[in-house]
Symmetry: C2
Subunit: 340 residues, 2 copies
């Protein structure tokens, strides 16, 4: 099945790509990639094996790119600090993915078999811990207590978001507010922290830190909302994991929150049976997708993502126009355009 989220592209989304942003930080990212490779090294052979299985599977590395770009936006001179913090951010992300696979009992990640299937839950947990430790070591080397404060706080907020998600899982009564608290923690907080440390390194005033943080936070929310829509409306290729994983795991995401709210009694009974009681039968995923389309909630989810995208755009208003700012703005459109 092809691309099925039934929404029109916004005018700025039509041609949006990450190309400009990627080109802008290409030198820095080459150093980030070298750093990532060298810091996954260990005499314990299983560690680089497991870490590189995930790292080499080619995520977009959006978070470290954002760190470098926000540092650049704030006139950072381009030392090793931003490179190390960017690598730290990517390690924190990778550690979260490894731990998430155990939590979600996932079989697939970034289009590959999940590490936990290949090496076991225990390796996923421990290699995640190793990468988290390495992330903190690099932050310490950079020596900015403010950046350490932001990223260590992010680590706890991410874990809180994930635990919140556990609690909300299978609960079809989850409100939109509850759901937003979950994704602010589990996804958007790391985007926010990744952006915020840029101006911190550049030693820019608090209002620029706040602006970059707000950009990252809103971009992160938009990004997650699109992911949630793609889980029901996209293809496995676009998603890098199995379509319908959220459904099979009983994960309550915004499309479900909205569908439950708008739904008929029969539909609610369907959601309760499948997501709450975990009683999923042949054809239920197709039925779920049909309901979501009928109720227009995938388009509604993308529309919410656009609203957060607009907030991210607004957050950058204080910064003077320029190539970096333009590229960061285009990244918003790109994240939303993934839904098409």
């Amino acid at each position: 099945m092809g691309v099925v989220v039934p929404v029109e592209k916004g005018p700025s989304e039509a041609e949006a790509s990450l190309n400009d942003l990627v080109a802008l930080v290409a030198d820095g990212m080459a150093r980030v990639n070298t750093t990532i490779l060298s810091r996954t090294g260990s005499e314990v052979a299983m560690i680089p094996e497991v870490a590189n299985h995930l790292i080499s599977s080619g995520g977009k590395r959006l978070r470290p790119i954002l760190t470098l770009a926000c540092a650049d936006l704030c006139g950072y001179a381009g030392g090793e600090g931003a490179v190390k913090l960017a690598a730290s951010v990517e390690f924190m992300h990778t550690a979260t993915l490894l731990h998430d696979d155990v939590v979600d009992e996932s079989d697939m990640r970034r289009g590959r078999i999940a590490a936990r299937i290949k090496w076991g839950n225990e390796a996923s947990v421990l290699v995640g811990d190793f990468l988290l430790g390495q992330a903190f070591r690099m932050m310490v080397e950079v020596g900015s207590l403010k950046a350490l404060d932001i990223l260590s706080a992010a680590a706890t907020v991410i874990a809180e978001g994930e635990v919140m998600q556990l609690t909300a899982a299978k609960n079809t009564e989850t409100t939109e507010e509850d759901y937003l608290a979950v994704i602010r923690g589990k996804t958007a907080e790391l985007f926010a922290a990744a952006c915020e440390v840029g101006p911190v390194l550049a030693e820019r005033p608090q209002d620029e830190q706040d602006a970059c943080r707000a950009y990252g936070m809103n971009l992160g929310i938009a990004f997650q909302l699109i992911d949630d829509a793609l889980d029901y409306g996209g293809t496995s290729d676009a998603l890098g994991k199995n379509v319908g994983d959220d459904f099979r795991e009983g994960k309550i995401t915004l499309p479900i929150v909205l569908a439950f709210r708008h739904g008929s009694e029969a539909e609610r009974a369907f959601w309760r049976r499948t997501l709450q009681d975990g009683e999923i039968r042949e054809g239920d995923l197709e039925e779920a997708r049909a309901i979501l389309h009928r109720r227009g909630v995938l388009a509604e989810t993308v529309e919410r993502a656009r609203q957060y995208g607009a907030l991210a755009r607004e957050a950058l208003a204080p910064f003077a126009p320029g190539r970096t700012k333009d590229a960061l703005l285009e990244a918003i459109d790109f994240c939303i355009a993934r839904a098409h």
Copy 2:
């Protein structure tokens, strides 16, 4: 079954207790306990629930006690720094236990049902991550980059030790050297770091930092060796987990390394079947204990622990005599006396 590790007490072990050490740092530990309680707090109710299940189960809190005592030994004035680092160390330990339970698929921990049985693997992983994040936040508040460096490096070394243990698991050809590398990482490194940050806070010279680190490292090795002996020779009460857990998990510990080395061909076949192939039958644990006693390897393991205890004792030689030093020396004897 009572106490069965067949070794004589050393003269100094006869009356050894932690009482002096505990009394010495009682004020500080009261503040550590308050800090621990307040820092497990979260709006996400499941977090304090899971964290406190383990934290309130009353471990000895040996590691934070060591941080306070080593700071005291080095003339630290007694500010909030040591309290926060001590609480960080305990959080790192608790996070490790939560993750270990998932890795080992344990049912019991500190005499209680393991958190992962009550709340699931996912909660154990995520609450461990939360505590690790909180540990780093407290370290950042203390503001010592040197202490942050020591503890973040410890986090990676611990994970490396645990992964090494995974690799060594079920491999009866594991050498004593391989085994020592495992326990240096998974256990002794945190003891070493807990001790080392004391003189760092007190801003004492490198040689005192090295001395405290060496004390902690050797004490940690001795501690783990006794634990390994108790797993075959102690009682569940003394151990806080099920006797024979290591055996059932195919964990290769020093008693096994020695027994395999000294063993007859029939005994080696027994170890291969039970530990390597995981084919454990009724009565095998009793048989394992009988072999270990016959080969005298539990006594040999305790003897090795005494040697590391002697190294820990020697490490403190540079420090002037006094109540704190005496109490730290007695702690060595206490750790070894657990085997009786």
